[in-house]
Amino acid sequence: MKNVKGILLMTALLSSVAALSACGSKEEEVQEGKTLLNFEYLQAGFGDAPYQALAEAFMAEHDDVLVKLRPNKDINTTTASRLETKNNMSDIYIVRDVLEIQRWAAKGWVHDLKDDVYSAKIDGEETLMDLMDEDALEYSKVNDHFYSVPEYYNIDGFVYDAALWEKNGWEVPTTTKELEELCLKIKSDSTVAPIVYCGGPNSADGYLYFATDGWMTAFEGRTNLKRFYAFESPDVFKPENSRGKWHGLTNLKTFFYGDYVMARSQDKDFMTAQKDIIDGKAAMMLNGSWFINENKRMLDVNPKANMKMFKVPEVSDSNNVKLRAEGYATVTGKELICADVGASYFIPEYAPHRDLAVEFLKFINRRSSSVLYTLNSNAPRPLDYNIDPTSEAYKDMTDFGKSVLDIVRNNELFLAFSKSPLMLEGHVGLYAKGRRESSIYQKMTPDEVLEDEYNYVLNNWDSWTKA
């Protein structure tokens, strides 16, 4: 049993009691004979497993170091004040919003990793720049500086119970035509709802954007999306230039706001909806690679469930022909899927043990560490390392994890980001007025949404660009 927390606690108990003051004041973070490295991350879907694994492996090589895990549900709102006050700071953090890291860097709070990590030899003679894929490298670069390292690519899709599907003879759909046929079959075969989502409060908007973005990405292709994210003219929001979004929103209406969705999905929180999938009450749910870590307790009491994930099916017509935008292109010829950076590492400029944090971050980016991370998170890192689920390294991986890696290997990943000031200043994004899935729920048509977006951009473009 990998009970790192227990190990840390016992170690701390034996070695640090003398260093603690009796009351009231700050407790000295000193462990006899060991340097304490505080590692803080968002306490969320992945749980502690990947971070425990990395901490354990690092300590195995550094017996003079104690890595203390600091999971923090509140990390998005606690970090700025702690960096500013230099109080209660951890040595290394993982946070979701890379723009926040860049803003903190502008205030001098974040250590530039260019020389210490990006240019350093990480794995043999290879540097992190050698290992990291081109998009992720560009994503992390700020005026020739690097203040963050991407933690993982968020791979999403439809999560399903393969055991339930096998029993019913349901097959994974590859197109929207097949998805619709499957939904009809599920409805006629069983009492299982084809699709459930979590539209309730604080539940990531039902993850519906995984589907709409997936359909848009698959339809548009890399070249068109790159052009869109350059935001060089308001024309990129013209309805006729937004057919990928149109397909996304149209399919959203068909599959999530029609007859195929489980009753009251709009009110469900994410744990309830996930339980519906695990209990076999629904057949599919949009979700991410953290699914089985987040639901470990529920899966432990449902050992027959064999969860897997398939990518959002390609947009197709009624003849099951896959549809592509004009100018569609990819680099590899594989189909294109979204792959957002889920979170990023950074090291505070005034971290108590900054040099050690740098060593830990270099360690984390080794190929062997990335395998360890993926084994424990089911999420791929944006680096060059082994992600072959059939290889010996992944022999103990769950079928869920392997299905995620299959999605990664069999498709071309597209990282959506922009260096345009319009996006950095928050004026535009994929949608200029924020996510629009709820507009469809509120009965706007996709055409009306796209028209509304374009008019809004057109009306504000001059003021945004002048500013």
Partner: protein, 481 residues
């Protein structure tokens, strides 16, 4: 009343017996306190409002004697308008200002009439004034602000002459860039009110909590934001106010407490102490779409109120007193203005507010001085404690013994240099953990303390006393030499 007297008598007898059994030769003389010039304030945000306040809501008339009697009985001393004075449709800024002010005057007078009967003070939300610096794209200069303010505040304005009128709601949760304009707004407000012989009328300004960042603060740091306020606006209004809602809903554990709660309170308490300003803040009394959870019991109210008082707060606003929801719908406030019914949280608020009023004379005669804490498990840092910037290393009058839960202890001094302390069970009351705390006092033979509104005098055994604090409980303690 009788039971309270009995307890005091027993406590005094106990102290007397203690002195006879050798721990001291003299009877414990508890200090007495003069009536405070101003009470501990509890402010009802969104107080009972007028019928059909928006013109479309179909709510019943809550601006009645019955509802304001209940407000006063629940220990509220101030009311802050949210719904009254909602403006009708307008095509131009001038029309909007005129209509807003007319609506505010009309509604405010109805509330003031009831508030006056029960000694409640009222902040008017005149929508021609509230949010002045951001609501109108064509109103941007000081001259324009002054023109609007003078059109609203003049001798013929009936509400400013009501004995219950306390001031106007100026701005809630401004971003950083709005602060400079708010300074102008407040300066003009103060000047005009002085000309009208209403010096002391308050312009209510409430800042964002520390969990707002990024664009919400125009990419300034929270310290920069707070510093600007205390350098430029606090001298004009005389207080520092912010809202922080600590309890979040957690899908796994049921509840989660934000980690920067004490940091935020400490920051404001320190600024108020340095500048001699009054500390004001808010409590969460319901959950909402932002992820905050509904109240689970009286401990939630006690926890927030005693924690704020532990840093010297003298004005605590309930967010919100009224709302559209009843208990079955979730997100429910103390009362439902749609049908005029009360939720169970009203009774809890009433109990806690009145237990605080019971010792306000003692509490208000001291000023906050510093903060200490103790983690129940030395291996697990309570992150709220860890985020305190300037905790005391020790205190010459008191030290911690054992604690069974994470415990907050703050210190106070009065003008004579006498000490007092607030002791708080600092665990999320959702988990219903009681805290057994032993404190050791120096140079003290006994304690005067206030426990849930009841005054107690107890002798010390070798300077020590062991407290049992219920979830959320705070104990105000004054050592007796």
């Amino acid at each position: 009343m009788n039971s309270k007297r009995t307890i005091i008598l027993l406590a005094s007898l106990s102290a007397l017996l203690s002195s006879c059994t050798g721990s001291s030769n003299a009877r414990l003389e508890a200090p007495t306190f003069e009536k405070a010039s101003s009470p501990m304030h509890f402010t009802a945000y969104a107080c009972p409002t007028v019928e059909n306040w928006s013109g479309t809501s179909n709510n019943v008339n809550c601006a009645t004697e019955e509802h304001y009697r209940k407000l006063a009985e629940a220990g509220f001393t101030k009311a802050l308008a949210l719904y009254e004075g909602a403006p009708g449709g307008a095509r131009t800024t001038a029309e909007h200002v005129r209509k807003s002010h007319a609506a505010a005057e009309q509604d405010a007078m109805k509330i003031l009439e009831q508030a006056e009967k029960f000694g409640i003070k009222y902040y008017v939300r005149d929508w021609s004034f509230y949010g002045l610096v951001k609501n109108y794209s064509d109103i941007t200069t000081k001259e324009q602000y002054e023109e609007i303010i003078r059109s609203m505040l003049h001798e013929d304005n009936p509400y400013i002459n009501s004995p219950s009128f306390l001031g106007n709601y100026g701005h809630d949760e401004p971003n950083y860039d709005e602060l400079a304009k708010i300074k102008d707004q407040v300066e003009i407000y103060n000047r005009v009110m002085k000309e009208l012989g209403k010096e002391g009328a308050e312009c209510v300004i409430n800042l964002n909590p520390s969990y707002v960042s990024g664009a919400g603060l125009n990419f300034h740091t929270y310290s920069e934001y707070v510093d600007y306020y205390f350098e430029n606006i606090a001298p004009l209004v005389g207080y520092g106010s912010f809202d922080f809602y600590p309890f979040l809903f957690d899908y796994v554990d049921g509840s989660y407490m934000r980690q920067m709660y004490l940091y935020n309170i400490e920051l404001f308490a320190r600024k108020c102490k340095e500048g001699g300003y009054e500390l004001r803040s808010y409590i969460q009394d319901k959950g909402d779409f932002t992820g905050t959870r509904d109240m689970c019991g009286i401990g939630d109210f006690r926890f927030q109120i005693y924690t704020l008082m532990a840093f010297g707060a003298r004005d605590i606003t309930y967010y919100t007193y009224s709302g559209e929801e009843s208990e079955s719908e979730g997100g429910f406030a103390l009362m439902n203005f749609m049908d005029g019914t009360y939720n169970w949280t009203y009774d809890l608020a009433k109990k806690v507010n009145n237990e605080v009023h019971a010792f306000e004379d003692a509490y208000l005669s001291y000023k906050w001085d510093g903060v200490m804490y103790k983690n129940a498990n030395i291996l697990i840092d309570n992150q709220n404690f860890a985020n305190l910037v300037d905790p005391l290393e020790s205190h010459d009058r008191v030290s911690f013994g054992d604690v069974s839960e994470d415990t907050l202890l703050t210190s106070f001094k009065n003008d004579e240099g006498d000490d007092a302390f607030m002791l708080v069970n600092f665990t999320d009351p959702y988990f219903k953990k009681s805290d057994t705390v032993t404190l050791k006092f120096n140079n003290a033979r006994g304690l005067l303390m206030y426990r849930m509104g009841q005054k107690m005098v107890v002798p010390l055994n070798n300077g020590e006393y062991t407290f049992k604090l219920y979830p959320g409980e705070g104990r105000f303690i004054i050592p007796i030499k």
